[in-house]
Symmetry: C2
DNA sequence: GGGTTTCTTGAGCGATCACTCAAGTATATA
DNA sequence: TATATACTTGAGTGATCGCTCAAGAAACCC
């Protein structure tokens, strides 16, 4: 009896993520989403419930992909190798909607309003920080870096530097590759 | 024959700066401004012309104060002392609307739209970077840090780190003082 | 193929957006 | 004090906001 939707829900979420990522929460209107996702208002609300609900799904997708790709990189290059490579990766990716981090953009835009989405972005940033901390711990166990440092503290500083780098990479008066190299070089002195 | 305005224009710009700084461009409505500045629409538009024009004034004020306070700090502590102290200063100031940088927030919010204000924020960031570069140069001339490094590159990295720190300082799961200390410590190894 | 169920469509809802302007009010000059 | 010249007021502009819902179209089961 039922009828299948004409759209691929997962693909739509990924597409919405890219739009939100680039233009932000207030900067993306439902008109924008309807046009890009090719959904009329009725279908949109039947599928996702609200603009905020879709944004939350997009955020979650973004965060999951971020952790997954970091772990995959560690599988390939080892924990320290992944941490050193990541700065280059985030500024090199030219197919991304923007180089700035979507979690950071969301948090910066909505935190002052106590919006739910800011809290969710914050939670995802905590998860990402934990991922970095794990990699630092693994690097210490593998003897790649000294065990004198607190991995949580290293992770917080590393994440902070990455956020700055990714925002700075949007400017064209700055050589982001140099900053990425300096961040990576700092990891070798640990 | 004329009649003086009942408001202090400079004070209103400073107040608008704080509102925009905290809530962003799209996050601040004219209703908000009218309520906080206690101006009816007619007076508002007679005084400032448009929301964007006032935002531009607020941005300019913010940037001028930023450079001025950095130079004042250098007068007191010397160039390297100022660069080392600044990370602590930006996260300690509890009276600020938010710890994140208004230029960075503006740039992040509006750059994807090619909004004029993003370009102005970018220009102010360039000026701030030049200020940092000058301080690094002066620190080198004074023998406080090695002359092996390119001051422009040092300034770009330093500014990027500060942007990350100031955004991170908004989170309560992170000890921002530790990051500030680590940034300052990095300057001693130059 | 008929009946049922879901999906799609798009006009349009009230609220809010940035902004305008004509009328009223206060002040400085003459 | 009279008049000219601002400044202040707030109702109201059209556009856009996120969102609703009734009607039509399409696909599944029997």
């Amino acid at each position: 009896m039922p009828r299948k939707p004409a759209y691929d829900r997962d693909a739509l979420i990924a597409q919405a993520r890219d739009i939100f990522w680039r233009h932000g929460w207030a900067g993306t209107s439902l008109k924008d989403l309807e046009r890009e996702l090719k959904l009329k208002p009725g279908s949109f609300y039947a599928a996702f419930g609200s603009k905020d609900a879709l944004y939350a799904l997009a955020l979650e997708r973004y965060a999951q992909d971020g952790v997954a790709s970091m772990l995959a990189l560690a599988e390939e290059l080892g924990p320290l190798g992944a941490l050193k490579a990541q700065p280059y990766r985030v500024i090199a990716a030219s197919d991304l909607p923007t180089k700035a981090c979507m979690l950071a953009k969301t948090y910066a835009e909505l935190q002052a309003k106590d919006h739910d989405l800011a809290g969710q972005a914050g939670a995802h940033m905590i998860a990402m920080k934990s991922c970095f901390a794990d990699l630092f711990r693994r690097a210490q166990k593998a003897g790649e870096i000294s065990s004198d440092h607190d991995p949580e503290r290293l992770a917080a500083r590393y994440q902070s530097d990455l956020l700055g780098l990714r925002l700075t990479a949007e400017r064209d008066d700055v050589n982001a590759a140099e900053i990425a190299a300096d961040i990576a070089a700092d990891l070798e002195r640990l």
